[in-house]
């Protein structure tokens, strides 16, 4: 239960760290988010394709951080972190899903040009 280690450098977190992976993770997530920003600023895609593109870019950035920066896996030292990340998935589905549903019923009732906003009108 209680982890009492004298030398901080023996800590699994520290042992697990790698400078190259950290820089790579950082660069990858900054790069991916910059691309998402560009995509947003350019206004070139249709609404639905745009949402999908940004969601994919966001997912990739998350992956880069989880795998490269935080090096999550199921080893003893990392287990709790991996589990806590996984526990957030239902919250993600819940909050984004319900929000999507809410807006889907809200737009036609409150916004005159919702077809335009939503593109295909899904």
């Amino acid at each position: 239960m209680s982890l009492h280690r004298a030398d901080p450098l023996d800590h699994p977190d520290v042992r697990n760290a790698s400078g190259i992976a950290f820089v790579a993770g950082y660069a990858a997530s900054v790069g991916l988010m910059a691309i998402a920003l560009m995509v947003t600023l350019r206004h070139e895609m249709s609404y639905v394709r745009f949402v999908i593109a940004v969601a994919i870019l966001g997912g990739l950035a998350l992956l880069a951080q989880a795998v490269l920066m935080f090096r999550l896996d199921l080893s003893g030292g990392q287990r709790w972190k991996t589990i806590s990340l996984l526990l957030v998935v239902p919250l993600f589905v819940l909050s984004i899903g319900l929000t999507g549903w809410m807006f889907h019923t809200l737009y036609p009732r409150t916004m005159l040009d919702f077809m335009q906003v939503q593109g295909s009108g899904m």
């Binding site: 239960m1 004298a6 919250l91 929000t99 009732r109």
Partner: protein, 689 residues
């Protein structure tokens, strides 16, 4: 890229000019005089007794979870007082500005506050009470008690713990400074869109609110991380999951909510900042902005946040009620399950805050049902507390009075919540003061819980009891005040009075408003008794001093430590053999805590870095609010630089040898957290020696 603002701006002072200091407002001047009057004696006494060094060495630089907790609670109580004064001002304005014939004072047309000033007051009242008073005090309790309850020497990350504290302090300082330099937000504690957008709020008020919330929410997120890790990793041997004291369980679910929900607030505010600083259109009323998105994001955080506030209070009640019923908590396992399921459900109900926005009936139905589902575990808890009381040997000492008061308020608040959860009812009372009364009843459950905890644990932390006599008066007047203010407020809500009114158009409400003001008067009396209680207790502290276990019937591990608690908590980490570990030991006569042999104890050194990070965070916030770019930029660079520097510090901490521990334990005069003569040295002092 930056938004072009109207009005003066210069590179050195940003938007700050002399005219931003409201020295012409008699109310602000009064507040300033009050602050000076309150601060002057403290500063004077500190200087006279040469306590500044002590303050820095023992408190500002400390990484001790108990001292950090005490500082959280002090900040929270100061903010509670400030929020209370805001409350008095709101009530008084509504009393005076009632009907077309109402009198006018100062610069107002009705009452004594012009609308813009009134709006700032209710906005700061809500923000302060929720974010900087109740949340902060409860965080303080969790900081102090959880490591003690699980038999740990400190939190998992003591340094991070201090960083969280100072970030919170920086946020609180921003709110306070807005009183004297510039304005505060006038858009409510929820930040009503699009009112928070630049065209409608071109001043700095919204920015103050924004950055204060942003900083403190960062502190809360880091604190959540710390407490969760502490509970998972730092439990004493034998402290299995289902042997953990209930308050620790409550903390675990609270902080899980905190860790998952606060980032949403951070994002919601960051997008608002993008709108206000960079000219994006996330929430603007046109140009592709979606203002409903802000409301949605805000409440995705907001509803979990209200449970973040109530769960620790329920945890406190679950410690106090068994102690003063002299029996174990009824249905421990069910209580744990209920607490965890409330934490889970709290994520699925947020839309009940905007049933009236116009989503389809299916959506409202789902959220109505999920909201009512929360009532099931909550009801389970109420029954369990009642059954703990049932056939207990009840003792009505002050902590118990507050806990029972909280139980009654919970019934009223919960049932009115159920009413609000029905969309058809909600459509008629949404944005009326009925809602305001509902959530005040609920927050008062937390406040009653806080006072229960204060009376209950104060002797553990400081070594002497709080005065019973004035404590009882404090409870009596506070409870009576609650009844008068909020019974009248519920009624007014059903009579159609909407919230946030600076002028009341209906003179028929006057009688109830007078009743509310009378309630406020009772609250003021209770504040007097609170101060008296503190004064009398400190004066008579020698008389009220006591040993480990003041209440004699407490059950959990924190009561096993010496009183006041030494900075290393436990000389030897206890081994736990069952639930309610302390009660077990007491019942079998195993309360002697001095072991045969002591061990060396290693603890982190004190450090000034967290406090400096807090100061820099304040500089950053202040720079952003006034758009003083060099200040914000330098502060940010300073933060990054300090964090990097600190990561290179080879600080192996402070070792207390077994011999010293033995001496301290035998002669436990010099172990207490208030009186300690030995505590870890400040790491940075070594640089100067």
């Amino acid at each position: 890229m930056l938004v072009h603002l109207q009005g003066a701006w210069n590179p050195w002072l940003g938007r700050l000019t002399l005219s931003q200091i409201p020295y012409h407002s008699p109310i602000v001047l009064g507040a300033f005089a009050f602050a000076l009057l309150a601060a002057a004696p403290i500063v004077g006494l500190m200087t006279y007794y040469q306590k500044w060094g002590y303050l820095i060495r023992e408190w500002i630089t400390t990484l001790d979870h108990k001292k950090i907790g005490v500082m959280y609670i002090i900040i929270g109580l100061v903010m509670l007082l400030r929020g209370f004064i805001d409350g008095i001002m709101i009530r008084t304005q509504q009393l005076l500005a009632d009907g077309p014939r109402s009198a006018a004072h100062l610069q107002a047309v009705h009452g004594y506050l012009p609308p813009f000033h009134f709006d700032q007051i209710y906005s700061s009242h809500g923000t302060i009470m929720i974010i900087f008073a109740v949340t902060v005090v409860l965080t303080g309790f969790q900081n102090i008690i959880v490591p003690l309850q699980i038999g740990a020497r400190d939190m998992a990350f003591p340094y991070l713990n201090a960083v969280s504290l100072w970030l919170t302090a920086a946020g609180a300082a921003l709110v306070m400074i807005s009183l004297f330099i510039g304005d505060f937000s006038h858009a409510g504690w929820v930040g009503i869109v699009p009112l928070t957008e630049l065209p409608y709020s071109p001043g700095v008020g919204v920015d103050y609110w924004d950055w204060a919330l942003q900083l403190s929410s960062l502190g809360t997120t880091l604190g959540a991380l710390n407490l969760i890790t502490t509970i998972i990793m730092m439990r004493a041997p034998g402290m299995r999951w289902f042997r953990m004291p209930f308050f620790t369980w409550a903390t675990l679910s609270t902080q899980t909510i905190g860790l998952t929900a606060f980032p949403v607030l951070g994002v919601a505010l960051a997008l608002l900042s993008c709108d206000r600083y960079l000219g994006t259109h996330f929430y603007t009323a046109g140009l592709g902005g979606n203002l409903m998105l802000y409301t949605d994001l805000f409440w995705i955080w907001g509803h979990p946040e209200v449970y973040f506030i109530i769960l620790p209070a329920w945890g406190i009640m679950s410690e106090v009620i068994p102690t003063f019923s002299e029996k174990a908590l009824f249905g421990y396992t069910v209580m744990v399950a209920a607490t965890l399921s409330i934490a889970g459900l709290s994520w699925a109900v947020w839309l009940h805050h905007f049933f009236t926005m116009g989503a389809g009936p299916g959506v409202n139905l789902v959220f109505s049902v999920s909201t009512m589902l929360v009532g099931i575990p909550t009801g389970v808890k109420v029954f369990n507390w009642s059954l703990t009381l049932y056939r207990g040997r009840l003792r009505f000492e002050t902590p118990m009075l507050w806990a029972i008061g909280a139980l009654f308020l919970l019934l009223v608040g919960g049932l009115t919540g159920m009413m609000l959860a029905i969309p058809a009812i909600n459509y008629t009372v949404h944005n009326s003061v009925f809602v305001v009364a509902h959530f005040h009843t609920m927050f008062l459950v937390s406040v009653f819980g806080i006072f229960a905890g204060l009376m209950y644990w104060f002797p553990k932390v400081f070594g002497f009891r709080l005065d019973e006599r004035s404590g009882r008066r404090f409870f009596t007047f506070f409870s009576l005040g609650t009844v008068f203010v909020f019974a009248a407020m519920y009624t007014l809500g059903l009579m159609g009075m909407t919230r946030r009114l600076d002028y009341l158009y209906n003179p028929h409400w006057q009688a109830l408003l007078i009743i509310q003001e009378f309630g406020i008067f009772l609250y003021c009396v209770s504040v007097f008794y609170f101060c008296k209680m503190i004064y009398v207790s400190i004066r008579d502290r020698a008389k009220e001093a006591h040993g480990q276990d003041v209440w004699r019937t407490s059950r959990t591990l924190e009561w096993m430590t010496l009183t006041p608690v030494p900075f290393y908590n436990f000389a030897v980490i206890p081994v736990v053999h069952g639930r309610d570990a302390w009660a077990m030991r007491r019942d079998s006569g195993l309360t002697a805590t001095s072991p045969g042999d002591y061990e060396d104890i290693n603890l982190p050194n004190n450090t000034i870095v967290p406090a400096m990070l807090g100061a820099l965070a304040f500089g950053f916030g202040f720079g952003m609010v006034w758009r003083i770019w060099w200040l914000a930029g330098l502060s940010l660079l300073g933060i990054i630089g300090l964090v990097i520097l600190r990561s290179f510090a080879d600080d192996r901490g402070f070792t207390l040898t077994a011999a010293t521990v033995r001496r301290m334990e035998r002669n436990h005069e010099d172990t207490g957290i208030v009186t300690d003569h030995i505590s870890p040295p400040v790491a940075e002092l070594a640089l100067f020696q």
